[in-house]
């Protein structure tokens, strides 16, 4: 099998893309426990490429995706990148997990190829990697939103922090503590768990003993579900401000009635956004892949489309794509994207609150936050051009009941 794979790679390497196709690498977790997020993102890339090509795409050139599985380890991620690079792509849409992205950085830098991902881990864009672009609100921004919301809106003075021990959890924890400190608040308890942990009783009992008035969690989807469910099971009835994993439909199915009242940070909520374009996209996604998209999926879709716009504008030359991305803004489904000096491209978030209605978790916007460069003008790289103009739709407030009803019937 190894001989076959090596022969295939050699064949690919020697093959120069024809003038009628442009190759884009897509690396994501298609297997392992991490596939919950990865597979949805790959679906988004496939959908974006199919639409792009059917719309005519770049004149005379079709986008061809080279998809590889990064599993749940850095080794698999690096292998996936090697296999993608063997096929001469012009850019790579990367995995969401920061521990894998960090491992890809040296090769990305060496190859001089654009890597776009929707990871939230703050440090990713602080590594001075000119080829890495992030299109998701980073923790430095979104964790400030969580902490501010807990203190200012929920009037918390005794918050508890519950974080996962991955880079994502540690990075978020650091920002949460710093932000709370600036507001004169110190967490009464800080607990940790591993991403594969299945029982959080010990951690939650520590929270209960400390008499916390709000729980702020930073975790991945499976452990978020366990945290939320066990919190209610142990009779801890304080508000919970959860990280974006709790906006995923699969998490809602696991948590069930315990989603009642939970606050969740999110970049977008494709399943309940009343915007017709978003609704149409969600419908198409569900019809195509038989699963509901999440905020990561829609931002990955926007990332793919943003990248395709760059390819259409400047062609497949890697340096030109990077330069174009830095210069331009893009109006996607979830919001407006524009890169700052660190190459963070998304500065919008909503704080959702979920209510259980007829057995389903229905969100409403508790608070909206939008600091995109075009609105604030606080970023260094001023946008010079908006690629696709459309009416801003994000963060309108609570969705209307008839809109929710129409979505429920889908």
């Amino acid at each position: 099998m190894l001989v076959t794979l090596a022969a295939r790679d050699r064949w690919w390497k020697g093959r120069v893309p024809g003038p009628s196709e442009v190759r884009v690498g897509v690396i994501g977790s298609m297997t392992s426990g991490l596939a919950q997020l990865g597979q949805r993102q790959i679906n988004s890339a496939i959908l974006a490429a199919e639409e792009w090509n059917s719309e005519g795409g770049s004149p005379g050139q079709k986008i061809r995706l080279i998809t590889e599985d990064s599993g749940d380890s850095t080794t698999l991620a690096i292998t996936a990148l090697d296999r993608v690079l063997n096929k001469s792509p012009c850019a790579v849409l990367g995995p969401i997990y920061s521990f894998q992205l960090f491992a890809l950085f040296p090769e990305i830098r060496k190859e001089g190829i654009v890597l776009i991902s929707t990871s939230g881990t703050r440090e990713l864009t602080q590594k001075n990697n000119p080829w890495y672009f992030r299109l998701y609100p980073h923790d430095g921004f979104i964790k400030q939103v969580c902490a501010t919301f807990a203190v200012e809106e929920l009037k918390s003075r005794r918050p508890a922090l519950m974080c996962v021990t991955t880079e994502y959890g540690r990075s978020g924890h650091e920002i949460l503590v710093e932000t709370l400190k600036t507001m004169g608040v110190t967490p009464v308890v800080e607990t940790w768990h591993n991403k594969d942990d299945k029982d959080m009783t010990g951690q939650l009992m520590a929270v209960k003993r400390a008499k916390a008035d709000v729980i702020i969690s930073q975790a991945h989807p499976p452990d978020t579900a366990i945290l939320l469910k066990q919190q209610r099971g142990l009779g801890i009835d304080v508000p919970h401000v959860a990280s974006s994993a709790a906006s995923m439909p699969t998490v809602h199915e696991l948590v069930g009635a315990a989603m009642e009242g939970v606050y969740v940070e999110a970049a977008a909520e494709p399943n309940f956004d009343p915007d017709p374009r978003m609704q149409a996209w969600t419908k198409k996604y569900v019809e195509t892949f038989n699963t509901r998209p999440d905020s990561f999926a829609v931002l990955f879709y926007d990332s793919a489309r943003f990248l395709f716009e760059a390819i259409r504008a400047v062609g497949p030359e890697r340096a030109n794509i990077a330069a174009w991305l830095r210069r331009n803004t893009y109006q996607g489904l979830a919001g407006t994207y524009a890169f700052d000096r660190e190459q963070n491209g998304a500065f919008f978030a909503v704080m959702l609150q979920y209510r259980m209605e007829q057995g389903k978790a229905i969100p409403s916007v508790a608070k909206k936050y939008d600091f995109t460069p075009s609105k604030q003008g606080s970023f260094i790289e001023r946008p010079k051009k908006v690629v696709i103009a459309r009416t801003p739709h994000l963060m309108r407030g609570t969705w209307q009941s008839h809109e929710i009803a129409s979505l429920r019937s889908q």
Partner: protein
């Protein structure tokens, strides 16, 4: 503290249940079955197939899962053990690793990567006593495990078939000379182990959820329990399971949640150093 103890005992009961199914096969064939975690996983998944796909009520789903797992135990024995039963133990172990990968990836292909939930017989109901809130499912886990362990003790100590199983586990050649059909006993052991995995999967799924990697976590816990409890007997499995379950909860709650697993493994090493055969390990001399 009461709340923590009950949660810890409930988790410990499931660990013990998993460990016992694991040790049954080890004793019978002299090789570790690395696929036992995935067997537990499939115990839950079969329940899910019955409830979500076939829309059976939960008690029918349990029967369905038991029947399906008995079948899986038979198939496992026929495919991954029987053809290589005369080969060295390492071959059998490698075959079990192969089965583990096969089952895990089958789960991924059939059910996808998302965690899935199997309902509990008692739903999400809780017992409240003042400040203490205990999930009824946790109480069910403890009660059912105790009943099962009493039943297993009776089976192995008081019945003819149980003694034959024990005889086969202790010395296959001697058992054969005594007129016991060893192959049949080993097949029965695989089925019994699969049935225990089914019950464990059914009890775990509402609390841990089901995803293709749950088996890995389960088998790691089972290893610790077996080492702590000793490879020999049911009491050891029970004591080891309860010890690990309670220690995990108390360490996370009162000492450090960040290094909970580190402390669990330190305890494992300490037990290995102080009691190399575990709490209730058989003395080697008894086996001569």
């Amino acid at each position: 503290m009461v709340q923590e103890l009950i949660s810890g005992l409930a988790m410990g009961c499931v660990y013990a249940l998993v460990s016992f199914g694991f040790v049954l096969v080890y004793n019978a064939v002299g090789a570790v079955n690395f696929a036992h975690g995935e067997m537990v996983l499939f115990g839950g998944y079969f329940g899910l197939i019955a409830t979500s796909w076939l829309h059976f009520p939960l008690w029918v789903a349990l029967i369905f899962s038991l029947a399906a797992m008995a079948g899986l135990g038979l198939v496992y024995n026929r495919v991954a053990y029987y053809p290589i039963r005369h080969r060295p133990a390492a071959t059998v172990i490698i075959a079990s690793i192969g089965m583990s990968i096969l089952l895990r990836n089958s789960a991924l292909a059939l059910f996808g990567p998302d965690p899935l939930k199997l309902d509990s017989f008692l739903g999400d109901r809780v017992f409240s006593m003042g400040d203490v809130v205990v999930g009824q499912h946790h109480v069910l886990i403890i009660a059912l495990t105790l009943i099962l362990f009493l039943g297993l003790s009776f089976l192995f100590d008081r019945t003819s078939i149980g003694r034959k199983l024990q005889a086969t586990a202790q010395d296959q050649e001697a058992a054969r000379l005594m007129g016991i059909n060893v192959n049949r006993m080993i097949t029965l052991t695989f089925v019994l182990s699969a049935l225990l995995a089914s019950v464990a999967g059914f009890l775990l799924a509402p609390v841990w959820f089901l995803d293709p990697d749950v088996g890995l976590v389960v088998i790691l816990k089972a290893f610790i329990v077996i080492v702590i409890g000793g490879f020999g007997n049911i009491r050891g499995m029970m004591a080891g399971g309860l010890f690990l379950g309670v220690v995990e909860v108390l360490v996370a709650s009162h000492v450090t949640s960040e290094y909970r697993d580190v402390i669990s493994f330190l305890i494992l090493i300490a037990v290995l150093v102080a009691l190399p055969r575990g709490f209730f390990g058989e003395k080697i001399a008894q086996k001569v």
